[in-house]
């Protein structure tokens, strides 16, 4: 499943060759606009509130979002993702593509060679030079260390040649499309190669990078202090002398400290907190549309453990029932009232990037919902709840416990759906169970033990990794093979064909059309209500300048451009 087909790969190469990297230009480009609008003054210490604390900062072990927030100031890679989904070079001179000859399909048409050239004169923050050997080492350690988070991309590499100090030729075993994303964080060979077990070294908390800052102090659950990297490649940057990431017990306290002026910026606000920020003239929000989509998935098979994919749910097996639930879902009202307008109504699993599908689902119309159910033979009983052939329209509705927003959304929908004669009982579980993604962990989506389940998912930049495992009929998890993620048990031969097509054509437009076909089929089957496309929301005091949004990266991605107004 991980291994994308050759065609998918080539298309991405074409995509990468389409010129986006050139548009983004050199590494200085993303910040150029900032420099143009205001003249930054160097110096000062910015304090950023974080309400989670990184367990480790080591590049290859990290699996928390907050680690990325901190490491954005410390670690760098060969390239990174711009807000439009294209790539721009960071430590490399350019992003290798088919067009510029950096990426080449081998003569037999089965493999891929990618040549990366490093910018000259770059040093690690300890002063040792960055060389192409570090690229190779990064791959080696990722493959060797048994405790790495995941090996996506690295496991597709066959070997790496180092023709000189600044050039690395990466030989992929197959035509691996998302090769640019492979080296987002580099690891230092000289420092680490003699270590038998990196998890026992200082690197865990003070990773060595080439970024604008280096870690000068790591006080567990208290604060992480970053100090200017004197060897940073861009002269005059970073503007700030220091950045302190300060642990706060919750985002409410973080917001309180922001208002009190104790911190300059804070990570991750809920939509409900935004009005509080907006009414303070000394504060500003950064709202960036992210790729995350909140959805309600409907189980079309029987709600029982290791459900038979071909069984039919007594209530949700009826497409008219699923339609009615969608018609009785006031998305816009929920967004306006509960999310304070800081989200957009959802329409598909892929809301951002080149394959985004934005054809909206039918809007809120409770009368239509009632009509549909009346016509389908669901008759209201004395208690106002419908039934058909002795089956009562009664469903369970699960989401993660302790999430205020989701709980409020549930309350709204339970009332709305009751009004059309469908009884819905809330049955929430901790996210560690509900979204464990494992059959042994009793994930109800894997087992099929749910009726309605609300959660969010974030697709990768290339949509194949989302569309294939989630909507192909062969990806329905079963007792025998639990790996698939087709949780609604959606089966459509046309969609299957389109998914396979998308994986076997080199034409970008065809590929996009095939995905659109799948997402249309999905919406025509009414198995998922796309609630809303969520935004990433961060906040700052207005005195902290240089903040810029990026759909695919976290808000500290351009921390070298931040500066404090005196």
């Amino acid at each position: 499943m991980r291994r994308l087909s050759m065609a998918v790969a080539v298309v991405s190469l074409v995509l990468a060759a389409c010129g986006q990297p050139a548009e983004v230009g050199t590494s200085a480009a993303p910040s150029a606009t900032v420099a143009a609008t205001a003249s930054p003054t160097p110096g000062g210490t910015a304090i950023v509130a974080i309400w989670q604390f990184p367990a480790t900062l080591a590049a290859h072990y990290a699996n928390q979002t907050v680690t990325t927030i901190v490491n954005n100031g410390v670690l760098e890679g060969l390239a990174a993702t711009a807000t439009d989904g294209s790539y721009y070079p960071v430590l490399a001179t350019e992003v290798p593509t088919l067009a510029n000859g950096g990426a080449k399909v081998t003569a037999d048409g089965k493999k891929l060679d990618v040549t990366w050239k490093l910018k000259s004169g770059i040093k690690w923050s300890d002063g040792t030079p960055l060389t192409s050997a570090d690229i190779k080492y990064t791959w080696e350690i990722w493959m060797k260390d048994p405790k790495v988070n995941n090996r996506t991309g690295f496991s597709e590499i066959e070997s790496i040649d180092l023709p000189n100090e600044t050039t690395a030729v990466v030989h992929y075993k197959s035509i691996y499309a998302p090769y640019v994303g492979n080296f987002f964080w580099l690891m230092p060979k000289n420092l680490l190669e003699k270590e038998a077990d990196i998890s026992k070294t200082d690197y865990i908390r003070r990773p060595l990078g080439t970024g604008p800052f280096k870690v000068s102090e790591f006080k567990t659950d208290e604060s992480i202090t970053l100090e200017k990297n004197p060897n940073y490649r861009e002269s005059g940057k970073p503007y700030l002398d220091k950045v302190i990431f300060k642990s706060v017990p919750s985002s409410q306290v973080g917001l309180a400290q922001l208002k009190a002026g104790e911190v300059h910026a804070m990570w991750n606000l809920t939509e409900a907190q935004t009005p509080e920020v907006e009414k303070e003239s000394s504060l500003a929000l950064l709202v960036v549309q992210g790729p995350t989509v909140e959805r309600i998935e409907m189980n079309t098979a029987l709600n029982q453990e290791n459900t038979d994919p071909n069984s039919v749910h007594p209530v949700l097996g009826d497409i008219e029932m699923r339609k009615a639930l969608l018609y009785a879902t006031p998305k816009q009202q929920i967004i306006d009232k509960l999310l304070f307008g800081k989200a957009k109504p959802g329409s598909s699993p892929v809301s951002q990037g080149w394959a985004a599908y934005k054809e909206p689902q039918e809007g809120y119309d409770p009368k239509k919902a009632n009509d549909v159910l009346d016509k389908a033979g669901w008759v209201k009983g004395s208690d106002g709840i419908r039934s058909k052939n002795g089956v009562r329209a009664s469903l369970t509705y699960a989401t993660t416990t302790g999430d205020q927003l989701r709980e409020r959304v549930q309350q709204v929908l339970v009332d709305e759906w009751k009004a059309i004669g469908v009884e819905v009982k809330i049955q929430n579980q901790p996210s560690s169970v509900l979204l464990s993604g494992s059959c042994t962990g009793k994930d109800p989506r894997k087992l099929g033990t749910f009726d309605l389940l609300m959660y969010a998912s974030t697709p990768e930049i290339d949509p194949h990794g989302t569309i294939l495992p989630r909507y192909h009929s062969k990806q329905i998890p079963t007792a025998a093979d639990c790996s698939g993620q087709n949780y609604t048990r959606f089966k459509n031969p046309e969609a299957d064909k389109a998914i396979e097509e998308a994986g076997s054509t080199i034409d970008l437009e065809k590929r996009k059309a095939a995905y659109a076909k799948v997402m249309k089929a999905l919406n025509d089957a009414y198995v998922i209500i796309w609630m809303y496309d969520r935004a990433n929301i961060d906040a700052r005091v207005t005195g902290l300048q240089g903040f810029q949004g990026n759909t695919w990266q976290r808000f500290t991605w351009n921390i070298q451009d931040w500066w404090l107004k005196k």
């Binding site: 499943m1 991980r2 210490t45 304090i47 604390f53 367990a55 480790t56 080591a58 072990y61 699996n63 928390q64 048994p146 405790k147 988070n149 995941n150 090996r151 996506t152 998890s199 026992k200 865990i204 006080k219 567990t220 659950d221 208290e222 604060s223 202090t225 220091k242 302190i244 300060k246 642990s247 706060v248 017990p249 306290v253 309180a256 400290q257 009190a260 104790e262 901790p430 560690s432 169970v433 979204l435 464990s436 993604g437 494992s438 962990g441 009793k442 998912s457 974030t458 697709p459 990768e460 990794g465 989302t466 790996s483």
Partner: protein
């Protein structure tokens, strides 16, 4: 006495063994597991899961996992935290000073206030003072710490801006005793007020019982000063229930305060435990549970030994 203590210590060994098995079993029975944190990542594959399960030793049979943990634990190797990849002993070592500072201060503050208040309310039973104290103690006793803590934060941190909102010190600033103390006030007040409520109630009740005893009248008949009667004869006997309660506070010096540390962002043992619990970080949890259960057993023993000193009628056999 020495033989009694030795016997109790030997009895404690199978008990601690049973506790460690039970806590291990409960941890393993909790759904989710240490790899749940990785699942949100779309790049995390089944192969990654198997590899990490093997790296963390989670693919071995449960009895083997338990015995290998026990073996290394007893020889001083407490293993590595799954999430942080750091030695458990080091993780505990980082948090313990903060927790000792917080809970030690609470311990002292509570005793300083509980004893005089408990004694005086009993002596002035049904007075206005007694009613006021009873009302206050019941109020604090029945106040959840998470609510009281937030209330204090809102009042003194947000409204009045007198005290910091959380943490142990101002980040980036050099060490400063005043700064430390300012950070200490609210969390100490939160825990102390609740504990004070219970301790005062215990002491008041047992003082009232003791005051009515025959030997009190005898002591007074002998012409002893009222101060001696109250402190030597009444308080010493009345303190027995309090000693049990206080002895059970001792393990808290190590364990910390789960809720309060969370609310105030106090980087102590309680937060370490809670974070580890959310992540199913077994080595960290088992290390903390083993130490805290040992401390509870020892604290009980300490309380029993103290009874003998306080009340000569108690004999050990």
């Amino acid at each position: 006495m020495g033989r009694y203590i030795l016997r109790r210590l030997l009895q404690a060994l199978p008990l601690l063994f049973a506790i460690s098995i039970a806590s291990f079993a409960i941890l393993k029975a909790t759904p989710g597991g240490p790899l749940a944190a990785y699942e949100g990542n779309p790049s995390f594959t089944d192969a990654d899961r198997l590899r990490l399960e093997h790296a963390f030793g989670l693919d071995r049979p449960l009895p083997v996992q338990y015995l290998s943990w026990l073996g290394s634990f007893l020889t001083g190797d407490w293993g590595y935290g799954f999430a942080s990849h750091q030695p458990v002993l080091m993780l505990i070592g980082e948090r313990l000073p903060n927790t000792l500072l917080l809970m030690g201060t609470v311990f002292v503050v509570v005793l300083l206030f509980a004893i005089p208040i408990g004694v005086t309310t009993a002596l002035k039973q049904y007075s206005v003072y007694d009613h006021a104290v009873t009302g206050a103690t019941f109020t604090f006793l029945s106040t959840p710490t998470f609510w009281l803590g937030l209330l204090l934060i809102i009042l003194f941190g947000l409204q009045l801006r007198w005290l910091p909102l959380g943490g142990v010190s101002t980040p980036g600033a050099p060490f400063d005793v005043v700064d430390r103390l300012r950070h200490l006030i609210l969390p100490v007040a939160t825990i102390s007020l609740v504990q004070l409520g219970s301790h005062v109630r215990y002491l008041r009740a047992s003082m009232l019982e003791t005051i009515g005893q025959d030997y009190m009248r005898t002591a007074r008949a002998k012409g002893l000063a009222e101060r001696v009667v109250v402190l030597r004869h009444a308080l010493k006997n009345a303190a027995i229930p309090l000693v049990t309660v206080v002895a059970l506070d001792v393990p808290e010096l190590f364990v910390g305060a789960l809720v309060t540390e969370q609310i105030f962002g106090w980087p102590g043992m309680g937060r370490l435990f809670l974070d580890a619990a959310f992540r199913s970080d077994y080595p960290v949890l088992q290390g903390i549970l083993a130490v805290s259960s040992t401390l509870i057993v020892l604290a009980n023993l300490l309380a029993d030994v103290a009874y003998g000193y306080l009340d000569p009628r108690i004999r050990y056999s």
